[in-house]
């Protein structure tokens, strides 16, 4: 028994010694990264020192670490994909990678990971690339604390900040992304976490999610994106503690849900969006403890949604709390706080004694004829809404919160 | 001093003035008489610019009065029924008129004092009787030393004593060479005052003669009788 333990210990001590550092830089043995790479072995670290490296496409096929010291710059001269990672266990850290090629044919990225696992991309700055970080059939990778920014103007002429396709168990933490097409893009990605990222001022979505089951995104900030955040064709997503802010404009949403089921939307904040949450074909979703504040529509729930539970949320200062396009209501509202509620609480149980109808007649009418917004807040519309509140006739009968709160939920 | 040329006025289709031409001179006291709704008041208001005639010309000191306002500085007007802002007191009205007429250093306050208006300065206009309102009107008409007085039924609402005071004031002003234009039904009141008679009927000016002429023509001593005689003659 003693001998194998000793051998294992020896190996553990030995390994770091075996792995060597290769220095690249003007004053060092190697001036080119590619040269260093060709001489490196698995487990080696290539230390890249200050300077600008224009070496075209660098392909990494060994399990090495690329470590930047004093922010060396890798420039793709708007022609090449810069780093192509084709080996598992690669670590890329502390680099500035800029000006990748632009091509919609092969989607070049600043860093592209091809069919390998356990890659870590950490503390890099990615400037003006077509795609930022591109994961393709990569598992157990970690994308951490990168600053990714571009100056995208048109949707077709720029790629995504972090693009993941057919991957599993990805962790994306603490990145800051702006100016790309989508900040973070997920397609067929499972069991992954998106945590504490800031995605802002991207041309299309802050986060774009498709066919990606069993993921969670937690404590991210999505703001000022062209169309907000879109989560589509996905099951079992958890969305906790995110901020969805200032997504203005035609067809802009704080959070767009399309064909989603069995998911959780908890403790998020939706402020100043055209629609806070827009739901289409969503089933069995729990929307709880969110604050929807000063949106055009707090929530838009299309008639194709069913069995969703919306409870204990705060609806504050929205132009319309709820909008819908149908008359069928298969969702439950309960114990929300609606600041437009005008009821009373005689039995002092902190819940209003009369139910609240969050759907105003005018919002129903606007749904069928959008130009009616012209009359918003006119005396006539207030009269219509008031009379509808007293004798409901046009708004769906069971669109109702039977237990509206008198005071906002403390979240 | 004031000349009317072919003055015409219609209210809707009712012709009130049917081409009136005449002349009023300085130092005269002219009585404008005639039955009700003969156009007396309309004539006066035309001179004052309150009613705008359809055609014709009015001159004041040989200057057309249309689109003019300055000539009204030389006119003191006492309306038939004085209408004043109800919430103002006599004092405020007097103050306001003094301000509006501006440029006067001295005011003729004879009537104002004679009627003891200075003792009821704080009374609001709506609390005043018709007679008192007339006194205010009279006092205001005489306050600004005008050249012409236009008085619409001046003695109608006044008690005899007040009427007497007013008449004396008129005599005084006439003696200063001013033109006084009076409309009245009660000629007997004005016998000693009036120097010329203008008689109107149905918007037409039937007579404009001096009192002397009239009396000589009819041989009547009394003015009222002279007029009725002449009217009868015309009707026949």
């Amino acid at each position: 028994m003693r001998i194998p333990v000793f051998i294992i210990l020896l190996l553990i001590i030995c390994l770091p010694i075996c792995a060597k550092n290769i220095h690249v830089g003007a004053k060092y043995s190697h001036q080119k990264i590619k040269k260093a790479l060709s001489e490196a072995h698995d487990e080696d670290t290539i230390v890249i020192h200050e300077g600008t490296y224009k070496e075209g496409n660098i392909i990494i096929q060994k399990k090495i670490t690329l470590l930047g010291i004093n922010k060396p710059v890798l420039d793709g001269q708007n022609k090449y994909e810069i780093l192509s990672i084709k080996s598992s266990g690669v670590i890329v850290q502390g680099l500035i990678i800029q000006n990748s090629g632009f091509s919609t044919l092969d989607d070049p990225g600043a860093i592209k990971i091809y069919n390998c696992d356990n890659v870590i991309i950490k503390n890099n700055e990615l400037r003006d690339n077509f795609f930022g970080i591109y994961l393709q059939q990569a598992n157990h990778c970690k994308i951490e604390h990168n600053r990714i920014h571009a100056k995208g103007v048109e949707e077709q002429q720029i790629g995504n900040g972090i693009h993941c396709w057919k991957s599993d168990s990805i962790i994306i933490v603490g990145n800051k992304i702006n100016g790309h097409r989508d900040g973070i893009y997920f397609e067929f990605v499972t069991n992954s976490v998106i945590w504490r990222n800031i995605s802002f001022a991207n041309i299309r979505y802050g986060l774009h999610f498709m066919f990606s089951n069993d993921d969670a995104y937690i404590s991210n900030v999505f703001k000022n994106n062209g169309a907000g955040v879109s989560v589509m064709f996905t099951h079992r997503v958890k969305m906790f503690n995110n901020y969805f802010l200032n997504n203005w404009g035609d067809a802009a949403y704080g959070l767009l849900l399309k064909e989603i089921s069995d998911s959780y939307i908890l403790h998020n904040r939706f402020n100043n969006n055209t629609s806070g949450i827009y739901m289409e074909g969503t089933n069995r979703i729990l929307v709880e403890h969110n604050t929807l504040k000063e949106n055009g529509w707090g929530m838009k729930i299309q008639a194709s949604c069913m069995d969703n539970i919306i409870r204990e949320n705060n609806f504050l200062g929205n132009t319309f709390d709820i909008g819908t396009n149908g008359t069928l209501v298969l969702n439950t509202f309960n114990e929300n706080y609606w600041d437009k509620y005008e009821g009373y609480d005689l039995d002092k149980d902190k819940f209003g004694d009369v139910p609240y109808r969050p759907l105003s007649l005018f919002s129903v009418m606007v749904e069928s004829n959008s130009s009616l917004m012209l009359l918003f807040r006119s005396f006539m519309v207030s009269l219509l809404d008031k009379s509808e509140k007293i004798i409901p006739s046009l708004t769906p009968e069971n669109f109702i919160d039977n237990k509206p709160r008198m005071h906002s939920v403390v979240i | 001093m004031i000349e009317l040329i072919e003055l015409r006025k219609k209210y809707n289709k009712l012709a009130v003035l049917k081409g009136i031409s005449t002349k009023f001179n300085q130092s005269e006291c002219i009585a404008l008489i005639g039955p009700n709704s003969c156009g007396k008041t309309t004539l006066i208001k035309s001179i004052l610019g309150m009613v705008l005639p359809d055609s014709g010309e009015i001159t004041f000191n040989n200057k057309s009065i249309f689109n003019e306002t300055d000539y009204r500085n030389y006119i003191g007007y006492m309306p038939q029924i004085g209408k004043y802002p109800e919430n103002m007191s006599i004092g405020q009205i007097v103050e306001m008129m003094k301000e509006l007429r501006g440029g006067h250093l001295s005011f003729d306050e004879d009537l104002y004092k004679a009627y003891k208006l200075d003792q009821i300065l704080n009374k609001r206009m709506r609390t005043l009787s018709g007679g008192t309102t007339q006194k205010v009107s009279a006092a205001l008409a005489f306050m600004f030393n005008p050249l012409v007085y236009i008085l619409d039924e001046p003695t109608a609402g006044l008690d005899p004593i007040s009427a007497e005071i007013l008449k004396e004031k008129m005599l005084l002003e006439k003696s200063k060479g001013k033109l006084i234009l009076i409309t009245s039904h009660l000629l007997s009141d004005l016998e000693e005052l009036v120097s010329e008679i203008v008689f109107m009927q149905d918007g037409e000016l039937l007579i404009h003669q001096t009192v002397e002429e009239l009396k000589n023509k009819t041989g009547e001593e009394k003015l009222s009788k002279a007029i009725s005689t002449i009217l009868k003659a015309q009707l026949i």
Binding site: T274, T319, N369, S371, M373, L374, S378, F379 | V51, R101
Partner: protein
């Protein structure tokens, strides 16, 4: 002219109704701001009340006041004062008094609770609406010789602009829903000064919802430089034209 304005204003500011109006505005504003949780909501509720009450008070008070001043006007007309001067002084006096009481009653609370661009726009719009409806009141009172008729007419005008007009717009929107007529209907809506001021404020307040669908229309029609020029000149015309017509009529009126 200043002297007549002074008399008119002194008279109005002593008027109990105008004091009551100021007080009402103040109570409304303070209670709106203290009842609602945030000042933006208070501002919105206040917007509704202002757009409803200010034109009503402005047009009816002014109409009644002009009729009640007929003696005063008559007194002035026989004096050496130009008719233009009398009528314009009355207009300026009425407007100044209404604006003063609006600024005291609503402006001060708005500036206290919501001292921002929207608050200032709301105050400016309140003043403009007061002037426009005073201007319409002058038209009413010169057209109808009879006081009851004139007041009836001014109530009708108010009802038309605050309620019937919007009904008409709604009717048009539904009837023409299948045609691309939004731009034209937006321009028609702008012909109503109440709607126009409401839309101008909404463009500041409820931008998020507006941009959703018809945003483009609104922005094109009212938001661009041309739109702002268009809407402010419309408001200006509303302030001036009814009054100018009444002034022409007044100059030809017999007393």
């Amino acid at each position: 002219m200043n002297r007549i304005i002074k008399f008119v204003m002194l008279d109005i500011l002593r008027n109990k109704i105008i004091l009551f109006y100021t007080l009402l505005l103040a109570i409304m504003s303070f209670s709106m701001f203290s009842l609602e949780d945030n000042e933006a909501k208070g501002l919105l509720s206040l917007l509704n009340l202002i757009l409803l009450n200010v034109p009503l008070v402005a047009i009816i008070f002014s109409t009644i006041y002009i009729y009640n001043s007929s003696e005063f006007i008559e007194l002035l007309i026989s004096q050496p004062i130009k008719r233009n001067k009398i009528w314009i002084s009355l207009y300026l006096g009425l407007n100044t008094s209404l604006i003063i009481s609006f600024i005291i009653g609503a402006g001060i609370p708005i500036l206290l609770y919501s001292p921002n661009l929207i608050g200032i726009i709301l105050i400016v719009m309140g003043c403009i609406i007061s002037v426009i409806f005073t201007s319409l009141a002058f038209l009413c009172s010169i057209i109808a010789r009879d006081k009851a008729k004139g007041i009836g007419m001014s109530i009708l005008i108010w009802l038309f602009f605050s309620l019937l007009f919007d009904g008409l717009i709604m009717f048009l929107l539904f009837q023409l829903a299948d045609y691309p007529m939004e731009n034209w209907i937006a321009i028609i809506a702008a012909l109503n000064p109440i709607d126009l001021s409401r839309i101008v404020i909404l463009l500041q307040l409820d931008l998020s919802a507006m941009l959703g669908f018809t945003g483009a229309v609104f922005k094109q029609t009212f938001g661009t430089g041309w739109g702002i020029f268009f809407s402010s000149s419309l408001l200006f015309l509303w302030m001036i034209i009814p009054f100018m017509i009444s002034l022409r009529k007044f100059n030809k009126k017999d007393h």
